[in-house]
């Protein structure tokens, strides 16, 4: 009997896993003992970190898009479709396209994050973001026309994709405005929901002095409650109101509804064993990347490492052996500290991050990785 592995989501986690399995299970695929289906609702794979550079005119959105067909092994069936229902008892999926139900023996959910700006009144109209293609392009236009006033970067919700990106944006904006001779005319204010500037205390301790040195104002314990686009103000639950000329936000995030509807977890995140990545509420279901509620950052490196673990575990299960591979929380992250300098952190469940001194070399390493990313998606790096 052919065992069917179904992966839902063609982002970093889903694509790396599909290629990992195609390589790892080559004999079984060739013999027809296994088939792999990758379901994604877009024909393209999107590398979202490119969006950070779009507002500064350094990259174009198309730089972050490649057809899944070009990235994923030919032995994987790619289905451009949207899954609408997960039945983990019957081990089958319903989807928008076609009349067939999709039966699986092993299911991996890699559905990622979505943006829900509508949770905050006024945010969709008053705020800009670089967490979507259209948002990054619109923000580029706004940033280019900003010559004076106050730029507010507000982290509205956590968890969110790439926890370092809000820090990167204000560091890059500060440097970019200095290079253009505008920094003295533009105030920069950074807001964060808790009492420090980043969720991880080690990164927060590292970033705060840099913000002070560079005259970036900080408002902590700032949980945005509403935005008034006409008055150009943002107000927090804690009672603070800030005026802005340009508001850049990290919008609230959520997963996809069908995960909660399937009873796999709240807010679209799957409750998993944080080491095995197995769903707690169903058999033969894994989750990885943003979708897996492990407490580690929503970052591409996390999805990459988790895909390797799930790939090893699935191959073991398919071959009737005990699955022994586990995820240790490994996370790697470059952090841009300006237009030509960056830091780097590496950490896991047991080891806290220790940010490296910013350098030009690390900045170029980050840009080099961005170019080499397509090798990661192919499962080669």
């Amino acid at each position: 009997m052919t065992e069917h592995v179904v992966i839902v989501g063609g982002g970093t986690g889903g694509s790396v896993l599909a290629n990992d399995l195609a390589d790892r299970l080559e004999p079984e695929l060739d013999a027809g003992d296994v088939r792999i289906t990758l379901i994604n609702d877009d024909a393209d794979h999107v590398y979202k970190p490119v969006w950070l550079y779009v507002p500064f005119g350094q990259r174009e959105p198309d730089d972050g898009r490649r057809p899944l067909e070009d990235l994923v092994d030919d032995r994987v069936d790619i289905r451009i479709d949207r899954v609408t229902e997960i039945d983990t008892d019957a081990e089958r999926l319903e989807s928008m396209e076609g009349d067939d139900t999709i039966e699986y023996d092993h299911l991996v959910l890699a559905t990622g994050s979505t943006l829900v700006p509508e949770e905050i009144p006024g945010l969709a109209d008053g705020g800009h973001d670089y967490y979507s293609e259209s948002g990054a392009v619109d923000l580029r236009d706004e940033l280019l026309s900003l010559t004076e006033g106050r730029l507010v970067l507000s982290v509205v919700g956590t968890p969110h994709m790439c926890p370092a990106a809000p820090l990167e944006f204000v560091f890059m904006a500060d440097d970019w405005l200095r290079e253009r001779g505008l920094r003295e005319d533009v105030e920069i204010t950074y807001t964060y929901p808790i009492q420090r500037v980043h969720g991880n205390p080690h990164i927060a301790e590292w970033a705060r002095p840099i913000m002070e040195e560079r005259d970036i104002d900080v408002e902590t314990f700032f949980n945005a409650e509403s935005v008034d686009p006409e008055a150009e103000t943002i107000t927090s639950m804690e009672g603070t109101e800030l005026d802005y000329d340009l508001l850049v936000t990290i919008p609230p995030h959520a997963g996809v509804d069908l995960i909660e509807e399937a009873g796999l977890g709240d807010d679209g995140w799957v409750d998993v064993d944080k080491h095995t990545l197995e769903a707690e509420a169903a058999e033969n279901v894994y989750a990885l990347g943003d979708t897996a509620d492990t407490g580690v950052p929503n970052a591409g490196s996390v999805a990459h490492y988790q895909a390797g673990v799930v790939g090893q575990r699935l191959a073991s299960e398919i071959r009737g052996r005990p699955a022994t591979a586990t995820y240790d929380g490994k996370t790697l992250c470059f952090i841009e500290t300006g237009m030509d300098a960056a830091s780097f952190v590496e950490f896991d469940y047991e080891t806290p991050p220790a940010p490296a001194p910013p350098s030009e070399k690390l900045h170029w390493s980050k840009l080099a990785y961005n170019e080499a990313y397509w090798l990661t998606a192919r499962g080669l790096l």
Partner: protein
């Protein structure tokens, strides 16, 4: 032991910092004035995070219960 009946309970046991505080803030955001949210957290940082945030936001921390393996925080929305 408090005999307070919460209007909503948020179970953030097992979540890393700042997860429990963010879960509480999310619940308070959608609560009505006067409602009480109970937060369950086994993260030690919550013992300082929750009181500091409650004071900053003007909400009232009505009680903190110490149980065997976690704490329960009762926060009333202003």
């Amino acid at each position: 032991m408090t005999d307070m009946e919460p209007d909503e309970t948020v179970d953030a046991r097992g979540a890393a910092c700042p997860g429990p505080l963010m879960d509480l803030i999310g619940a308070i955001r959608s609560a009505d004035s006067g409602e009480v949210v109970r937060l369950l957290s086994d993260n030690e940082q919550s013992l300082s995070d929750v009181p500091e945030w409650a004071e900053e936001a003007g909400n009232e921390l009505r009680a903190v219960e110490e149980l065997d393996d976690h704490h329960e925080f009762y926060v009333e929305k202003a």
